[in-house]
């Protein structure tokens, strides 16, 4: 279908060109060939694209040119295949060994560019040259430099192509281009760093046009010619705040360029002056930039400047200097840094140590090790990671004693440092010294043991569980989840039985679960807990019950089921919740039994959710899932119960399930949930998951489209309905993009993103299908404006009044005041003048209506928004003459065009489908 339509536009466009006429006959053959090739775009892979591009190039210049001329202005028609073809060629001719083809292609693009009338199309062609043009294209780009729209792409293409010629053309055009285009030419000359352009660009340096001035200053700075110094200098004091802020950056750019042109000393002087002047807190980034430029220029000779930077009050500047220090490697520089270190205050000392740690020069290690003992904490904090970076495991000997410090921050850094070593190096020692370090440090050691799962040392950790120190105790309990062994279960259960704090109970529950689940025998995992359950009471009893679902096993399940019948409300409640959270399908029956018997709405709802989760988690066939879920619906009492079941059903992609859910589309309380479920089940999914098909699916989806509020979803549903109809033999009459397939007064109608719009200001007129149809089912949607009047012509000839020479099914805003005196056979849906339609089924003006017309022999049926409003046999209807008393010779026609008969009002149509009946 699509192919058919595209061919049509292309042919239509071609016909136009041929009639304008250059080389007619020969070109007809060529055009057919081009059509054939274009149908194959976009290519599905690189090899196909090469083949297609090769074929096009074989057609030579004429073929290429014809293709370029098939481009149309944006939105006029879908020329995307042409754009695919040209884009593909642009890339193809850039392959190695294709220089001849590239030249031919570039020259043809230029030729097309010259004869093209639309500027957006021209811009597209220029962009092809930007990708594949070389010398040959340069002089042709010149003529677009003055154009308001094309100046930009032309300059960009010249800039990309580069070359002396491009520079010359830009330079020569600078005076000639209109004021609005000067900025782009100057910017390009600046980016090309055109020394030749300096004198001319300077002429614009006193402009009052802010945009132009900004670009001019950038260009001058980037070219870096000393003739521009005065201008760049002045900028700092004359411009607006934003430009003034830019001034130092531009001036430094200029200085950098000076150095590149050999004027290194001048550049360095500027940088030094900048560093002196821009050190206030909010300007030190300028000093940073100056230092960076200077280091780039001076290389190793900038060491003194970098060292001096450490005297700056700005941390930002010092850190920048330290970062730049890596440009000056070597022992000599390292020595200077050590000297500098000696003379620095703690903060700076710490910064330098950080740098030395990254520098990789291990000769500084002894000194850094001694810094671990510094009085100043920032220094120690910096030294810890630094020695780990530079040293080997012997560093550990210096780190362990530091656990005596009691600052949290320091211990955290220490922990990260220790964790940089492998387990044998740190775990035994951590366990050994555990009791000798202060509580805060002990926490760090416990965390290290846990991180490394050092189960062999779990006893040391257990030994700390009774500590009075709450944070330490929390660290212990947290670690136990990772460290507990299977054999630790009984002491963990004991601890749990004795715990009173909520947080501790939670942590111990985790540890108990972890330990119990290490038991390979699933059935005996819960034994200890069940024994404890027997003897426990009160809150402890509940805490034990709560963890059973995380362990599982038949005995535990039975125990839990028994508790759901408990007299104690709290026990019962925890048991019901725990049962609903059971990990496997074994609990299904028990959960169902709660659902069926409980009178507590919360229990029912929770159990329903658990029931659905269990079913979804088990490997069941969709039919089984469906049966289990639909069965439970009768047990639902509250609305929420029903909603949760519908949502469960929505995950089952089967027609059975869909039919079940669709029944609730009429239930006002559940219809929006049912609609959501229907879309989820029926529409195709993300990953190659097919949608459901069948007439019941279609019916459910149509109903759903009327319920769903989200317009995107409505469109998705309707798109999918189109897919279903297509399978049923319907074809689309309207591609949504252009009027291919239609003829007649095409200028009175417009295609716009799926809508066929009757243009009020152009009168509309009659728009007919190219094809003729005799017996068919036609489906379409339409939207009226107040007082709108249109008509649907069927079996109509192209000439004459379709209402008489064919048949016109009226399209009308019945509600308009001005139509109140019309005859019954003139209202919406009526076969004009012949059969009157039922009224009262149009949606309010401004909403979309759905209509279906069945034409089979003499029988005409019109269904509007689901209701039959006309069902007539034409022969019967005119047996005693027509209603309007006029001749309707068209009623005898067996076939003809389908058309929209515009009467000068704005009406929109969309989704127009037809199925021919044999």
């Amino acid at each position: 279908m699509k192919k058919y339509r595209l061919t049509f536009i292309l042919l239509a466009v071609l016909t136009l060109f041929i009639s304008i006429g250059t080389a007619q006959e020969k070109s007809v053959g060529l055009q057919t060939e081009i059509q054939k090739i274009l149908q194959k775009y976009p290519a599905q892979n690189a090899a196909d694209l090469d083949k297609l591009s090769y074929e096009i190039l074989q057609m030579g210049k004429d073929g290429l040119l014809s293709i370029c001329r098939l481009l149309v202005p944006p939105g006029k028609a879908d020329d995307s295949r042409v754009r695919f073809a040209l884009g593909g060629l642009t890339t193809y001719v850039n392959r190695t060994g294709k220089e001849e083809q590239r030249k031919l292609y570039a020259k043809t693009v230029i030729k097309a560019l010259e004869s093209e009338g639309d500027k957006n199309v021209k811009a597209f062609l220029i962009r092809q040259l930007q990708r594949c043009g070389k010398k040959e294209s340069v002089r042709f780009l010149k003529r677009y430099l003055s154009d308001p729209l094309l100046g930009e792409p032309a300059v960009q293409a010249l800039l990309t192509i580069g070359s002396y010629e491009a520079e010359t053309i830009l330079l020569r055009s600078l005076n000639a281009v209109p004021q609005n285009n000067k900025a782009l030419v100057i910017k390009a000359l600046g980016e090309l760093r055109s020394q030749r352009a300096v004198r001319k660009i300077l002429e614009y340096s006193s402009t009052r046009d802010r945009e132009l001035l900004n670009v001019t200053l950038f260009a001058l700075a980037n070219i870096g010619d000393s003739r521009a110094e005065e201008v760049l200098n002045k900028m700092a004091v004359t411009a607006g705040p934003y430009e003034r802020a830019q001034a130092p950056s531009l001036y430094l750019l200029y200085a950098q360029r000076l150095a590149e042109h050999g004027k290194k000393q001048l550049c360095v002087n500027i940088c030094r002056e900048f560093i002196r002047s821009y050190m206030s807190p909010q300007e030190s980034h300028v000093a940073c930039a100056a230092l960076a430029v200077m280091v780039a220029v001076l290389g190793e000779k900038s060491l003194e400047d970098i060292l001096a930077a450490m005297d700056s009050p700005s941390k930002e500047f010092r850190m920048k200097a330290l970062e730049l220090s890596d440009r000056i490697p070597g022992q000599e520089a390292t020595t200077r840094w050590l000297e500098r270190l000696e003379n620095s205050r703690p903060e700076v000392r710490a910064e330098i140590i950080g740098m030395l740690g990254k520098r990789g020069d291990t000769s500084v290690l002894p000194l850094l090790l001694s810094e671990l003992k510094s009085e100043a904490r920032p220094v120690r904090l910096a030294a810890i990671p630094a020695v780990v970076n530079l040293g080997d495991s012997t560093v550990l000997n210096e780190l362990w004693p530091m656990l005596q410090f009691d600052s949290k921050e320091e211990l955290e850094v220490l922990k990260l440092a220790l964790l940089r070593f492998s387990t044998p190096l740190i775990v035994p020692e951590a366990a050994r010294i555990m009791l000798d370090v202060p509580p805060l440090a002990r926490m760090v050691l416990i965390e290290i043991l846990a991180e490394r799962r050092a189960k062999e040392f779990v006893d040391v950790v257990f030994s700390q569980a009774k500590t009075e120190d709450e944070t330490l105790r929390e660290a212990v309990l947290t670690a136990l989840e990772r460290l507990a062994r299977e054999e630790d279960l009984s002491r963990l259960v004991d601890m749990l039985l004795g715990a009173t704090e909520t947080r501790e109970i939670l942590l111990l529950q985790n540890a108990v679960v972890a330990s119990a689940n290490l038991n390979e025998n699933k059935e005996s995992r819960a034994d200890l807990l069940l024994a404890a359950l027997e003897t426990s009471e009160g809150k402890t009893h509940l805490d034990l019950l709560r963890i059973l679902p995380r362990i599982g096993g038949t005995k535990a399940l039975h125990s839990l089921i028994e508790k759901t019948g408990s007299e104690d409300d709290r026990v019962k409640s925890v048991a019901v919740y725990s049962l609903a959270a059971w990990p496997d399908i074994d609990a299904l029956e028990a959960v169902l039994s709660v659902i069926l018997t409980t009178e507590n709405p919360t229990f029912r709802y929770v159990s329903l959710k658990g029931y659905i989760r269990l079913i979804q988690g088990a490997e069941l066939m969709p039919e089984e899932q469906y049966l289990l879920l639909s069965d439970v619906f009768d047990a639902a009492v509250e609305l929420e119960d029903k909603k949760v079941i519908l949502s469960g059903l929505s995950r089952i992609k089967s027609k059975q399930s869909l039919r079940y859910v669709a029944a609730f589309l009429q239930d006002p309380e559940l219809q929006s949930n049912a609609a959501r479920a229907v879309t989820r089940m029926a529409l195709p999914g993300d990953e190659e998951e097919l949608g459901l098909v069948g007439s019941d699916v279609e019916a459910a989806l149509k109903q759903t489209a009327g319920i769903v509020q989200d317009i995107d979803m409505v469109n998705r549903i309707k798109d999918y309905l189109g897919v279903l109809w297509e399978q049923d033999g319907f074809v689309s009459l309207f591609n949504g993009k252009d009027l291919s397939g239609w003829m007649g007064n095409t200028s009175g109608y417009e295609a716009d993103e799926g809508k066929l719009i009757v243009l009020q200001n152009r009168g509309g007129g009659n728009l007919y299908t190219e094809k003729e149809f005799s017996d068919f089912i036609l489906r379409f949607e339409f939207k009226l404006t107040p007082g709108a009047n249109n008509g649907l012509g069927i079996r109509a000839p192209l000439d004459g009044d379709a209402a008489y020479m064919g048949m016109e099914l009226q399209i009308l805003d019945n509600s308009a005041e001005k139509y109140k005196d019309l005859k019954p056979y003139q209202f919406h849906g009526s076969i004009y003048g012949v059969v009157s339609a039922k009224r009262g089924y149009l949606k309010p003006v401004g909403e979309w209506n759905e209509e279906e017309v069945l034409a089979r022999g003499k029988r005409i049926t019109v269904k509007l928004n689901g209701t039959v409003i006309v069902d007539a046999d034409i022969s019967d209807a005119i047996r005693n003459g027509t209603l309007d008393g006029r001749e309707h010779p068209g009623l005898r026609r067996k076939t003809g065009h389908i058309g929209f008969l515009g009467h000068g009002s704005h009406v929109e149509f969309s989704r127009i489908w037809i199925k021919e009946l044999k």
Binding site: R127, R131, S249
Partner: protein, 423 residues
């Protein structure tokens, strides 16, 4: 077409001072007056670009929001409502950068603006929190790295999987993976497969439309400024806001959206933060010149033989996330190496990272995911985009950051901006 209105908002300062031989140093606080305040302890921020993505940035903790900026009045209005009192709204990001009381600039604009605003922010002395993908082209990325480093700024990109959170469908954080690789348990070189099988679904719904009918520009949107450095194309709502990723002028489809999230950890794991792939090849349908489409497979090789495969079709159902000569690593740390999970526990930690951006701003320490390595990650994304667009094998020089023997590919590394915008 170049924005004529851009500068009218500024008053021309008619000040002419004597010009001396050297640069007339006029520190800002001398001229500037208003707005110059002593640095306070509270870190402050502005968010530039407050559409769908940007609204998320408003509430990131750690810094006080002072300003929001957008070229769409509706976005601005909503952001101001969320921001509450004390937050000012701007239409032009340069007005935001003029404010001296702002420390950090967030840049959740579409990617075609990232480089320009990042460079301008760096030159204005701001630290930067930029959305992914870092830049639209490799050339722009180099400029951002230069400007950030030259001006001593702290920069982060808004992805985080190398240092926190579960790494998508892999099922664990990145740390244990790094440990396995760093301790050479899998051997070398390594092949990484990024696909639905290994936990990473490529999203192709960001495709652009190949046929758009121009629409009138909405009054609330300054389309000229929205385009900024991007080529002028007639307006259509699908080109902007929530769907811009489908167009090469602004981004690169699903690669632009998820590429850095998925690939930054890969680069970290393979220890490639300072280099780039040398050979890139893509298997895909032909791409439209304007609209991004889908792709089937992209393969990127490093000089040492390591390889990253982006399997968009999820074709290799048995793929390991990482495969080396001595073993394979699957999601959830499953492996053919016996007892791998226990082994991981006993391995030393990777180097600690600076993971608190606000802390990095205070201490001036480089953030762990900074301009350097983010640019390299984004380069993987940009190399992939170019390979997809050109459909041929490409060779890349990671040092010069240029393609070898492919002029057209190099033209996609440096794409001129629309005047008056420049880097």
């Amino acid at each position: 077409m170049s924005g004529k209105k851009l500068f009218t908002r500024r008053k021309f300062l008619k000040k002419t001072l004597a010009v001396s031989a050297g640069f007339t140093i006029v520190p800002r606080f001398v001229l500037g007056g208003a707005g110059f305040t002593a640095p306070s302890d509270e870190i402050t921020k502005a968010v530039i670009g407050v559409g769908g993505m940007g609204r998320g940035h408003l509430k990131y903790p750690g810094a006080k929001l002072l300003a929001v900026c957008d070229v769409d009045e509706n976005h601005l209005k909503r952001a101001l409502e969320i921001g509450g009192p004390g937050v000012e709204g701007y239409k032009d990001f340069r007005d935001v950068l003029e404010r001296k009381d702002i420390d950090i600039v967030h840049i959740p604009t579409p990617p075609h603006w990232h480089a320009l605003i990042s460079v301008a922010a760096a030159e204005a002395g701001k630290d930067i929190w930029c959305e992914k993908p870092m830049t639209r082209t490799i050339g722009e990325g180099k400029k951002v790295v230069e400007a950030v480093q030259r001006n001593g700024r702290i920069f982060r990109i808004n992805t985080w999987f190398r240092f926190q959170s579960q790494y998508y469908g892999f099922g664990t954080t990145v740390k244990p993976i790094k440990k396995v690789v760093e301790n050479n348990l899998l051997g070398w070189p390594l092949k990484v497969t990024v696909s639905a099988t290994t936990g990473f679904n490529w999203k192709f719904y960001w495709s652009g439309k190949t046929f758009l009918k121009p629409k009138p520009e909405p009054k609330v949107l300054d389309y000229e400024m929205w385009l900024g450095p991007a080529p002028y194309k007639p307006y259509h709502p699908h080109r902007v806001h929530n769907t811009f990723r489908g167009y090469w002028d602004y981004d690169g489809g699903g690669l632009g959206d998820m590429g850095m999230h998925y690939l930054d950890p890969v680069q970290y794991i393979l220890d490639k933060d300072r280099t780039s792939p040398v050979e890139i090849e893509a298997d895909c349908p032909q791409q439209h010149p304007d609209a991004c489409g889908s792709w089937r497979r992209i393969q990127l090789k490093y000089a040492d033989g390591c390889m990253i495969v982006l399997d968009g079709e999820n074709k290799d159902k048995n793929a390991a996330f990482i495969e080396g000569p001595e073993g394979k690593l699957f999601p959830g740390l499953e492996s053919d190496i016996p007892h791998l999970k226990e082994k991981i526990n006993s391995l030393p930690d990777p180097k600690p990272q600076v993971t608190d951006f606000i802390q990095a701003v205070r201490t001036r320490k480089k953030f762990t995911l900074n301009e350097d390595n983010a640019h390299r990650t984004c380069t993987i994304v940009n190399l992939s985009k170019i390979a997809v667009r050109l459909g041929r094998r490409l060779h890349f020089d990671p040092e010069k950051q240029l393609f070898i023997g492919d002029e057209e590919a190099n033209r996609l590394i440096h794409q001129p901006m629309r005047a008056p915008w420049h880097l």
